[in-house]
Subunit: 180 residues, 2 copies
């Protein structure tokens, strides 16, 4: 078992039904279904193309409750795209961490443990899709940035997690990353 | 993605509160919390030594809902122990499959899909502990078989799963094993 210490730079929710873009908040409460009020909250979610072995739309266990990016990886995506920054909110991230640069490579089953007692399980890499690319293209008024994001964000777009132990996660706090 | 076809030789429940030993049934219904009536049913379970990074007994997401063994691996454990057989029930298995001999090596995140639509996610290897060893020792009246089981069952004791899609699993049916 290996343990690393990292920092929670920000926590965010997607509580505007019109967009997956998140907004920063001081802290989030996590429950077994995710973050109440967030668009990805729920014990169940409809299967989509990522779970193509189920008929589209059938209800399956929600393992994509919480999305996490690393500040260092966001900077590398920005560099690849020739942009000054990529904000976690644009990617719909719920957490942004620093001090663990290769977050996207964290294996499935790794744990993220927070001082309050909350615990998340990594469900693996969050594959880049066009959605955040469209947001970035819109902000910069450059349609070419949408497909460019998908290319630039390979292996850098962070992970999705589900909640293992309920609790609170605070911005500007610490997180222990455990690889069993 | 790789896909394999295997056979469900039996399905079992642990519905006697006095023991983890299971009994064969014609079919089981699986829900988001596991198998209703089974001792491992629940959305939450108390953390134990396997999740030592949480205080013992705190409630965490139940990822050990359903245990699966392979008939071939049970035969190899029996061979290692010099016994005529190791029955899935003695190990508290809920499913016994054949035709996929190295089940225990199936990676975390692999899917088991059943004809009815039910789907399970592998949560990884079920580490051998002394409990089933004690059962086997009791049956044969030989206390030495308890620690012998723990040694003999390394990398052969099967996997634990949680339910991804609810449905029914039938004895003598088929199962599709998908490694994403």
């Amino acid at each position: 078992m290996r343990t690393f210490e990292a920092r929670v730079e920000g926590v965010f929710v997607a509580d505007d039904p019109s967009t997956f873009v998140t907004r920063g908040v001081p802290q989030i409460q996590v429950e077994l279904g995710g973050i109440p009020g967030d668009r990805h909250y729920g014990l169940l979610r409809p299967a989509d193309s990522r779970q193509h072995f189920y008929p589209s739309g059938t209800l399956i266990a929600n393992r994509r409750q919480i999305s996490i990016v690393s500040i260092e990886e966001c900077a590398r995506i920005a560099q690849h795209m020739g942009l000054p920054e990529i904000r976690p909110e644009w990617l719909g991230a719920n957490l942004a961490v620093s001090g663990f640069p290769n977050l996207t490579l964290l294996p499935q089953g790794a744990r993220l443990l927070f001082p309050d007692g909350a615990g998340l399980i990594s469900e693996g890499e969050n594959l880049p899709c066009i959605g955040p690319g469209n947001v970035i293209a819109g902000i910069h008024g450059d349609p070419g940035l949408a497909p460019a994001f998908v290319r630039a964000a390979q292996k850098l777009r962070g992970i999705v997690c589900s909640v293992e132990r309920e609790g609170q996660i605070t911005a500007n706090g610490s997180v222990q990353i455990v690889i069993p």
